[in-house]
Amino acid sequence: MISLEQLTKVYGHGDAQTVVLDRLDFSVDAGEIFAVVGPSGAGKSTLAQCVNLLERPTSGSVLVNGENLSQLSEKALRVARRRIGTIFQSDGLYSRRTAAANVALPLEYLGVTAAETRARTAELLDRVGLSNKAGHYPHQLSGGQRQRVGIARALALRPSVLLSDEATSGLDPDSTRSIVALLKELRDDLGLSILFITHEMDTVLQVADSVARLDHGRIVESGRIVELLRDPASGLGRALRPARSHESAAADATEWFVSYTSAAVPTDWLSRLADQLGTTVSLLGASIETVDGATVGHASIGVTGADREHLIAVAHSLGLDARPEPAGESAPAEILEQVA
């Protein structure tokens, strides 16, 4: 388990100082994948460098399994770094070393015997499904394969925490999916805490259990993915599943926007809604899917001549949030007032 307590990083002094990370607080449990998303310049790479102890925080601490690692001496820090495996962007391999020799790096630095290194390297390459590529050089591997080598290397010293610093950025969708599947598998098998730093919302949805959004060095929103997706007021939830464009309603119908807010939404909610309202409901656009076994989604529908309040109540009984304009364009309380 890894936790950050009031982690702050300030660059520069006096008037010229910039707060890059502002009192970050979060923890990633064993067996959890926690994503941190944010636009470029939000402080993601500084966060990554503070977490793998390449940068010292100005104040606050990084704790791995309860032990504070951020106040150690330079030498103790080198040892402490071994407890956190880091997966870098796919350019992190040594070009003059084979896949096996790249995986062996941390073992070599530690001074592990050649025989033991060979055995462990073979085991790790097998773990990531690359045992037949041991003798290949990075330029002979695809982006996804290179990243698998990076993952094997990060696992070499059996860390309890894995930090993924934009590990899937620049990979094609297929490779990203396979890397994500591998990370989840490793998390389950080894009970790793995985901190997944990225700017790609799509990947977050695939990989993470929880997510936090970093903006201007602060965590502006965080929570479990499913809960965020079910909260129509959550900006992060909307960012994770952006609304696509939809058809417009017929002249006599009004457009409504519904989103799943509970696990109990029946799959035939559309016909139930039409039945209970005693009118026609047309589907204009929708995006429904399961994330981690829970169904989430949103839809735009056209409804002919129904009472607003009644519609909201019926939708609510079906586990849906309904509003006459897309969520996020104004605060929910105001919408309810307008409707009332």
Binding site: R78, T86, L105, Y109, L110, H139
Partner: protein
């Protein structure tokens, strides 16, 4: 007696030129050994004292960089003449191979330090972070993430440096260091012996070409990318060009 009769007969040219070539090779060999032994650590040090380096220290970096620049900015002839007292202090003489080695090594180290520094700058900075995150000590980082990755580039630079040293050895030859340069100057230039001049030119061109060839081979051998590409079968290349 005509000037011609002073010329070295053709059959005696090998006996004149080959020992001189050997002298040059010894001179350049000793110099390059010193240059590599001093230049690699010095280049790595200068690189890592710079902002963003492992032992970031701007004042020390500026100082060291200035010293190297001074060594680089003096034309070799002037450097050689100006450090004669120093050379005599080190070697006890100011003529011969030993005396030539001192100024050549100084010029060579300054040159090679810059080459190493420049090669290290070409290594992606991520690799240093990878090494650190993998628990490497500063020396391990320099060895594996910096020097090893920059090796092909350093060898390329070493080739250029060696060729420059062959050139310097000829200049050193003019103050009595011996070697092929000495032969070219005393026989070819001062005695107008065109045959000897031509022989030294041919030998110098052949030597430089061989050094370059060996250097290129080594670069190719130490670059996995180039090595495997050379091995790739022709058919595959044609396939890719069709796509």
């Amino acid at each position: 007696m005509s000037i011609r009769s002073l010329n070295v007969p053709i059959d005696q040219i090998p006996a004149l030129v080959f020992p001189a070539l050997l002298d040059t090779l010894i001179m350049v060999g000793i110099v390059m050994l010193i240059v590599v032994l001093v230049g690699i650590p010095l280049g790595a040090l200068v690189h890592n004292l710079a902002p963003g380096g492992l032992f970031e220290n701007p004042p020390l970096h500026t100082t060291l960089s200035w010293i190297v620049s001074i060594g680089r900015s003096l034309p070799f002839l002037i450097l050689m003449a100006s450090i004669v007292p120093f050379t005599r202090f080190i070697t006890g003489t100011n003529i011969g191979i030993a005396a030539a080695v001192v100024p050549m090594a100084i010029a060579g180290i300054a040159f090679f330090t810059r080459i190493v520094e420049n090669s290290l700058r070409g290594v992606p900075p991520t690799l240093v972070r990878v090494a650190k995150a993998s628990g490497a000590s500063p020396l391990q980082i320099i060895r594996t993430a910096q020097l090893s990755e920059a090796l092909p580039s350093i060898i390329g630079g070493l080739t250029i440096n060696t060729i420059a040293m062959i050139e310097y050895s000829a200049i050193a030859g003019t103050i009595g260091a011996g070697g092929i340069g000495y032969v070219a100057v005393t026989y070819g230039y001062q005695r107008f012996d065109n045959t000897v001049m031509l022989a030294t030119i041919v030998i110098l061109v052949a030597t430089v070409a061989s050094v370059q060839l060996i250097g290129d081979r080594l670069v190719r051998l130490t670059t996995p990318h180039a090595r495997t590409q050379a091995r790739a079968p022709r058919v595959r290349r044609r396939e890719t060009s069709l796509v």
